[in-house]
Symmetry: C2
């Protein structure tokens, strides 16, 4: 929890919450999704996702379109603005990591790199 709080502060974009970032990441991988799908993937309740999607739309990072087959649903898509923001995020994150890297040796970094995909898998299990 200590580490996660520090990472929160070293946020790439101050204006985006961790979950908002995570939703953009999911959209980057999936192309598009409905709010319900996003809520399930992020392990968040539907009303929370409604709010998150509304915030992202206000920042012009996603677009909302009607679902082609089911008029109850909506389709959420990433905008170009979101893509370039993610690119900028990666740059800043790398800069922070480079700074932290001075405190770890090669073996320690290797341990983190090996664990990353396992954590990714756990998050989806």
């Amino acid at each position: 929890m200590r580490l996660s709080r520090r990472l929160k502060h070293q946020r790439v974009d101050e204006s985006l919450s961790p979950t908002e970032m995570s939703v953009l990441g999911t959209l980057a991988r999936c192309g598009s999704a409905t709010p319900g799908e996003l809520a399930r993937k992020e392990h968040v309740q539907p009303p929370s996702m409604t709010r998150i999607v509304a915030l992202l739309e206000a920042k012009q990072l996603v677009r909302l379109e009607p679902h082609p087959e089911d008029r109850r649903q909506k389709v959420v898509t990433q905008t170009e603005r979101a893509e370039s923001m993610l690119e900028e995020s990666r740059r800043r994150r790398n800069a922070w990591l480079a700074e932290l890297a001075q405190g770890l040796d090669d073996e320690e970094w290797a341990a983190l790199r090996a664990a990353a995909p396992v954590l990714e898998k756990l998050a989806h299990l």
Copy 2:
């Protein structure tokens, strides 16, 4: 962030927040500390630590004593109740991990075990 949300839900003790758990962990290692020291170690602002310590005291998990040399400060100490609670926590956490273990192979678990001390180090860097 997805994983951390899931871990939050699989909390060992529903009545204790992640930061409260973390403070108890710190006290278990350090013996005792002032609220200010705890705030710095947990990377939380002093008013937040005031509230956390008050909650822990209400649950009889810590004791607050006057500082021997500086009458502005206080000394926070773990109670026996906290020790036995941490013990119970470990048991429950292990049960959950054992369940999750079915989804990972030996190599994947080894990767997590190797990364744990590095994350611990990063949290203190």
